[in-house]
Every structure is written in C-alpha cells, then in structure tokens.
C-alpha cells in the first residue's frame, strides 16, 4: 500500500474519532479462534457444519406466583441449542412476549415451552403421544417475565426475560441467552442489564472461570457440557445435526461469537444509520433489488467493529495514558500522526515508542501522567477499502467526488458498498456513489459453480488464446449479468458464430463501398433504402437506451439481430442485384451505397464499446478507403469518434409498419420456393416466377410495389392473381395466401442470372437481358 493511501486511512479514522463515533466496548463479535482475531460481518462465510443438537431443562426456582401452585412439584423451562459450549455463559432465558406458552406434564416433570412447538419438540425429544399431556396451564410470554430458574450446574439464578427476536421456526420458543456469545443475546441483555460474560480466551479455550471446562477448546467442550448436563439430569435429548454455520473467510474454520474489548464505530452516533438509509434511497441500485438488500443490512447491522488483532495492516493510531487509560485526543497530535504515516508509512507506528510520537514532555490531560501506550490493534480491512472514496477519488486530480458508479459482484452489498457508504456518510454526510451496479457469479453450462474438483473451470486466458478477447467481451455483453452467468464450450461456439455474422455484415458493407463517391444521396432513396435507414435509427435508439441502462445484452442482441435479420437476410439480398449489375454510377446504385456507408459507420460506433477490436479494425478500413478519396480528416480511432445519434429525419415508423407485411409475405414465399428447390424443380430462386393470391390486406401493399417485388422476393417475376390458385403452396401463417412457384419464362441472362423473355433479342449480346444490355452498351 502506498504511504499516501495509508495516511488517508489514518486521516479518515481520525475524522471518525474527532466526530465522536469511535468507542471501545466489550461486545460479542465474530471471532476466529484459529486466526486469533475478530471478524467483520463481511469476513464470515456460511458453510455446513455438524453440531450437537440438545434439549435442556432449566428448573424453576421461584415462579413469583406467575405459574400457579397446583402444577405439580417440579416445573422446567425447556431450551434447544446447537452450541452447548455457550451454556456456561447462560445468563437468561428469553421468551417472546406475544407467543403462547403451555405446561406439558411428563414423567420428567412439568415442561414449559411454546404451545405451537409442543408436538414437534415432544416428538424430537422422544416422548410417545401417550407419554405427555398438554395441560390447561397456558400463558402469554409477557405473563412469564421475571421467573427465577436455576442454571443446570452453576450456582447462578437465570431469569426469564422477553425479546422480539425469538421465533417459532426452530427450537422451543425459549431461548438460551448468553450475552457474551450472541448478537441478539447481547442486545436483549443490555435491556435487562445482564453481564456480558464470556469465559473463553483468544484461542477459543475456556478460562479458569469456566470451572470444570477450563483448558478445553469450545467445540471439544460440547461433549463435556453434555456429560455434565446428563449427570445433573438436565439433558432431555441429544443428537447431531448438520446446519449452516458461520466460518472464517481466511482459514475456513468455524468461528464463534465472543465478547471481547474492541474498537467500534457507533452507527447510532450522529444518526449515522438513519443518514445511511436516507442515502441508500438516493442512490440508483442496478438491479433494483440491490436497494432492498443493502437497506435491510444497514437497518439491522450492529455497530461497526473496526479493530483486528492482526499484524498486517494499518494500525489504529490511538495512544492511551498508562495511568488512567485516557485516550490522547488533541487534534494537532492526531493530524501529526497522519503526517508521520504519510512520510514514513504506517510501519512508523510499530517502530516508534508512544513517547516519541507525542510532543516532548506531553502529559495526560486528565491525570497528568507521563507514561503512554500505543494501541496495537489494526483496522478492519473493510475500513481501509471503505475509505478509497477519500484516498483515491477525492485525492486523484483526474477524479471528481462523489463517483458516478461502483460496480462489483453482488457479494459487496455486505462488503465494500456498505463500508464505503458508512465511511463516506459518517464523515461527508453523503454516499460516495450515485449508482451501484452488481453482477452475479460465473457458473458452468449447467449452472454449477466452477471448481477444480469438478474439472469445469474455464480460464479467461484460455478463451483469449483459443477464441479471442473479443469473444470474451461478447460473452459478457450477451448474457444478463444480473443473475449468475453461464459459460461453456457450447456457449462460446454459439457466440463465435454470432460474431462471424456481425463480422460478415461489416465485410459486405466495406466490400460494396470500394467505388463510392461519398456524395450525399439522401434525397435519392427508394423505399427499401428508406426502410433500411429507418431500421438503423431504431437500432441506434434501442442500443443507446440499452447502454444508458446498463442493459448490455439488450444492446448486443439488437445489434446482432439487425445484422442477421434486417441486413443480411433481407436488405443485402435485395440490394445485390442493384449493387452488382447496375451501371456503377447509376443514381440507384449510388443511393444504396450511401445507405450502406451510413449503416457501416453507425454500426461500427454502436458495437465499439463491446466489439472494440473489430470496430477498430473496421474503422481502419473505413478510414483507409477515405484516404483514396483524399479525405482522411476523421479521428484516428473509433474511440475518438462520437457515438452514433438518432437522425429523426430518417425515422419512418409508418413505412416500417407497412413493410412488416412485405417481410411476412417474403418469409412465406421463401418457404414455397424452398419446397420447389428441394424437389429440384428450380435451383436458384431466380429461375422461378411466383404467382400470388393475396388476402385483401396485402393487395394494395403489393400493388404499390409491383416493379420491386421480383427484387424483394429474389425471383425473376411476380404476378398477382385475381382468382384462387390450384396446386399452390397454402400459407398457414398468413391465412388466405397462396403461392404458386413456376419456372420463369424466357432464358437465363448470363450476366445477372435473372430469367427474361428479352434474353436473345440482342444480336451483339445474345446471352443478356434487356436491363443488362442497357448497362453494358
């Protein structure tokens, strides 16, 4: 890390400290006994673990008149837990104030648990249906508050308390409460003034306070706890379960909740939590559910535990008086420390003694003491990354603060997005970003996570080498990244094929512009050209909206469809006759070239953000063509050119709509031609003439394009019949349409391949049709 960045971290920490957010407290935190450190929420991963599952009874010592007198001699509250090792720290039993509890008679005494869970629990514990009786003793939770029970083996009175966090999902509705070992326990314990007790050391080993358990590792001590419970006749049932349990992200071992002295940033101070929630509402979250997710997390999060007992990181740069524990809070000293770090790096903190960091002769402001100690914990790494908005965005002169966009995987709502939000809102009063976009994770073709053991890992380098970086880029753009996204050989070959189509479209466009004169023919367009220009504008509009909304798959598929459907299989097909066989400088050919050149430059621009390499390659060819025309004025890279904009004057939605009818007809005629081709009745479609019997709605449309129809349908002649045709192709898609495919009359023109009665009429060119004759003579 750079000194500059380290100093920024210290400055930001100082700012939090100066503003009063930072406090030291004993609180349960996720603790990894193996790494010997506290962990943040974001550093905990859930994984399967086998744990004991036990039902334990707590004997009522003094019901304070709340239970009644004729309930039989011994009455117990029953709890269920998967962490027997937390029982030494048990301080209370929590009930839900609104749940109904009842007394169940068994040979083991009267058991109190939530009414709704009686049957399930009795069954689990192993009572047969005739071995217990549900009595008429029924209470709501709040009627049972404050009953004194005995801890199963420790001389401690454990009271019943009330908490809204109790659920009926699992257990008995009575919750084992150890404020030193659980977040909810801690919170409810605060309300009741319970001791935050945790007789477990840094390595997860019971201390002397735990009596018979001293020296045992917590998870191993589960067995001892169960033995003790058995001997005290407090154990109702013991079994094993496999459940989701928090593990350390570093060493992958199970973690524990443990109260320790830690440094915290209070999320209640200065209304930090509320301010963050307000900021969340101002930020644009893509996809939308990101808002709900981070909102829920911030709403429910505990104070931010920022200290770590590690050696690799930026220290918490606080100094305390050895005599009274007062923290040195002089602003100038805090600023000097940040300055020191900037000059020497954070290691200076570990090298210099506290007295050398403080001004000479410095005395504690509270007690006048002269001995000082440095804090040796380091900062949570999520604090380090959370302040990047200050260390990078604010300080780098290329940037402006706040950022427009943060974009990471959807695991960062818990991590960087949240730590950045807290770090920025706490000191700057607002979120460090305007938009936050998240993506899912990469999985294989069948939706499985990639792993070495499954052998389904595909590395990016493999794709770049084997297929090209462009294919990797297309993969990213073609899939909806909001969900998990799949990759496989099959997907890659499909994308390679899609790429080939786009590339060929570009090649056709380039290939037919070699002799274009670059004049403006926009007022010489035919309807088919106007249609193509209008389609192009629609594409520009759609792709632009898609890019703006980060819907890249929408942009990519629109571009691909335009190339395949609108261009290759229609417009280019129709144009070929004009482009290849017209007089080179005929107005019609030039007009179509003008359209092709417009389409080429727009298409190149539209695809450049995704198909960057190919767009640049095509752009180079456009420019070098320009060079021959002594027109090399354009920018030298497609990225220096502007993104295409919609030209309103070429939008003709009415024409597009009308032509939809023609394209539908064309599809049907192609089906009829395909049948005849399969029968070897014709080879090339130009050998055919088609007769159409049209439904009413297509009649006017076709009559208005009589001369152009052969070109649209790629046949030599089209005739519109007045009466129904016999032995023809009957369309299913267009009801009432009949297509009769016949061999075209006349002979084949050896120049344009069309069939015409005029072939053979010209003595000096007996092999060509009249149209071609006029061109070559």
């Amino acid at each position: 890390m750079s000194y500059e960045y380290e100093a920024a971290i210290v400055r930001e920490f100082n700012d939090f400290f100066k503003k009063g957010y930072v406090y030291k407290g004993k609180k349960p935190v996720h603790w990894c006994p193996s790494c010997v450190t506290a962990l943040a929420e974001a550093e905990v991963e859930h994984a399967e673990k086998e744990s004991p599952s036990i039902f334990v009874k707590f004997k009522v010592k003094d019901s304070k008149g709340k239970i009644g007198t004729d309930t039989g001699k011994d009455v117990y509250f029953v709890i269920w837990t998967t962490t027997p090792w937390t029982l030494p720290a048990n301080m209370a039993l929590t009930l839900h104030p609104d749940f109904t509890y009842c007394l169940v008679k068994t040979e083991d005494g009267g058991l109190i648990l939530a009414r709704d869970l009686v049957e399930t629990c009795m069954d689990k514990i192993g009572y047969g249906e005739d071995e217990y009786t549900i009595t008429e003793f029924v209470w709501s939770g709040d009627e049972l508050e404050g009953i004194a029970c005995s801890h199963p083996w420790i001389d401690r009175t454990v009271e019943t308390i009330l908490g809204g966090h109790v659920t009926l999902d699992q257990g008995t509705g009575v919750v084992n409460t150890a404020p030193g070992h659980g977040e909810d326990d801690y919170k409810v314990g605060l309300k009741y003034g319970l001791d935050v007790y945790a007789p477990v050391d840094d390595r997860g080993i019971f201390t002397g306070d735990a009596g018979p358990l001293e020296g045992q590792f917590v998870f191993k001590a589960n067995a001892s706890v169960i033995e003790i419970l058995k001997s005290k006749k407090s154990l109702l049932k013991e079994e094993k379960i496999v459940h989701s349990y928090p593990h350390c992200w570093r060493c992958k071992k199970p973690v524990i909740f443990r109260a320790t002295e830690q440094w915290f940033i209070s999320v209640e101070h200065n209304n930090l939590r509320k301010n963050c929630l307000d900021e969340i509402n101002k930020v644009k979250w893509v996809p939308k559910w990101g808002r709900e997710r981070i909102y829920g997390m911030v709403k429910n999060r505990p104070d931010w535990c920022i200290s770590r007992q590690r050696s690799w990181g930026v220290p918490i740069t606080l100094i305390e008086c050895r005599d009274c524990g007062e923290i040195v809070d002089d602003e100038s000293i805090l600023d000097d420390i940040a300055g020191l770090v900037r000059e020497h790096g954070a290691d200076i903190w570990f090298i210099r003694e506290a007295e050398d960091i403080l001004p000479e002769g410095y005395r504690c402001k509270k007690c006048g003491g002269s001995g000082f100690a440095k804090e040796m914990d380091i900062l949570d790494v999520w604090f380090d990354s959370g302040v990047s908005h200050a260390a990078v965005v604010e300080r780098d002169e290329r940037f402006t603060w706040p950022s427009d966009l943060y974009l990471e995987g959807s695991d960062q709502h818990r991590g960087w997005f949240q730590s950045s939000l807290l770090a920025s809102t706490g000191t700057r009063g607002r979120a460090p970003y305007r938009t936050v976009l998240t993506h899912g994770f990469v999985v294989d073709g069948s939706g499985k996570k990639m792993s070495k053991s499954l052998g389904n890992v595909i590395a990016p380098q493999e794709i770049i080498k084997g297929y090209g970086a462009e294919i990797l880029r297309i993969w990213v753009a073609s899939e909806d990244y909001r969900d998990d996204i799949r990759i496989s050989k099959e997907i890659l070959s499909r994308l390679t094929e899609a790429y080939r189509k786009i590339r060929n479209t570009c090649r056709f466009l380039l290939g037919n512009l070699y002799d274009f004169d670059n004049n403006d023919y926009s007022d010489k367009l035919r309807d088919v050209d106007r249609w193509a220009m209008s389609r192009m504008q629609s594409l520009i509009g759609r792709a632009t909206r898609a890019y703006e909304n980060y819907d890249f798959h929408e942009a990519f598929h629109s571009i691909h469809n335009f190339c395949v459907v609108d261009m290759s299989s229609f417009y280019f097909d129709v144009l070929k006759d004009r482009l290849y066989t017209d007089r080179a400088d005929s107005t019609e050919r030039r007009a179509s070239q003008w359209v092709l050149s417009e389409i080429l430059s727009a298409l190149t621009g539209l695809m450049a953000p995704v198909l960057s390499f190919t767009a640049e390659e095509v752009y180079g060819y456009i420019r070098s063509r320009g060079a021959e025309e002594s027109d090399k004025s354009g920018p030298e890279s497609v990225f220096l050119s502007s993104f295409p904009v919609v030209r309103e004057e070429f939008i003709d939605m009415e024409l597009e709509e009308r032509w939809k009818g023609l394209l539908d007809l064309r599809d049907e005629i192609n089906k009829a031609l395909e049948i005849k081709r399969a029968e070897k009745f014709i080879g090339n479609s130009l050998e055919a003439r088609v007769r159409l019997y049209l439904p009413e709605k297509y009649m006017d449309l076709c009559r208005s394009y009589t001369d152009s129809l052969p070109a649209f349908f790629l046949v030599s002649a089209v005739e519109i019949a007045d009466t129904r045709l016999t032995g023809s192709y009957e369309s299913i898609k267009i009801e009432g349409l009949q297509v009769a495919v016949e061999r075209a009359a006349g002979n084949k023109c050896l120049r344009c391949w069309g069939w015409s009665g005029s072939v053979g009429s010209f003595e000096d060119a007996p092999d060509v049709c009249e149209k071609c004759y006029k061109v070559i003579k």
């Binding site: 790494v381 908005h389 380039l510 002799d515 120049r751």
Partner: protein
C-alpha cells in the same frame, strides 16, 4: 447470410469472362476470417502507439466527467472468469461514456487488503504467531 463469398460468387466465377468485367463485384481487403488471437495484440499495439487512451484523457478540462471507481481487488492469486466479467463490464461502460463525449478516466483499484499474503505467512509460521 448470403455473403459474397457464397453462392453468388460461385456463380459469377462460372460466368463468361466478358460479362464478369461489367459487374461491380465487392472488393475489400478486410479479411473474412477474424484470426482474433493474432489480430488483437496488433490492435492493442496500435492503440498504444497512437496513444489513443492518452488522447481521450486530454479532454479532462472541457468535458463532463463520468467517474467509475474501481474497487480494491481481493488478490487471491489466479485470474478467473469473475475478474474478466467485472473488468469487461467496466470497460464497456467507460468506452460507451467516452464515446458519448464524457471524460471518463479509468484508474484500476489496488489491493489494500494484504490478507492473502498474511494467510500464507500464517500457514508457514502459524505456531510461532505472537499472542
């Protein structure tokens, strides 16, 4: 797609030579075969030589800014598809915004965690850890 390497060309090749010369058949050196893994490094070099990125950055003073702040990576060794997905998405956005006229500098985030290194150190020296 009926491209001009397809059946039209086959047909025209078969035609009498005297008519072929009268047609305006497509002409271009733009290769049909992409050969991406060979061509891409050449284009990268071209961008580098012509200092295209630097030229785009020259807009700093006049253009509206668009700031994408790249997150600090968790460097755990090898590059995987998740990295590719993340970086390509960012690249698409920055390129789009740049072509829309924004000044959109891209500054890669750097790892400020150092954790993976410490885990390795812990693995090697675990038992000697001071505590």
């Amino acid at each position: 797609m009926l491209d001009f390497e397809g059946r039209v060309v086959v047909f025209f090749k078969a035609m009498a030579d005297n008519y072929k010369d009268t047609l305006n058949l497509p002409r271009t050196d733009f290769p049909m075969k992409a050969n991406l893994s060979k061509r891409e490094p050449e284009i990268l070099n071209l961008w580098k030589e012509k200092k295209i990125y630097e030229k785009l950055q020259g807009r700093g003073d006049s253009a509206e800014t668009y700031i994408l702040h790249d997150g600090p990576p968790y460097a755990n060794g090898h590059i995987h598809m998740g990295h590719a997905l993340n970086k390509v998405l960012k690249d698409i956005i920055v390129k789009y915004k740049t072509m829309k006229g924004f000044y959109a500098p891209y500054v890669p985030g750097w790892d400020c965690h150092g954790l993976p290194i410490e885990i390795q150190v812990d693995k090697n020296l675990g038992s000697k850890k001071m505590k």
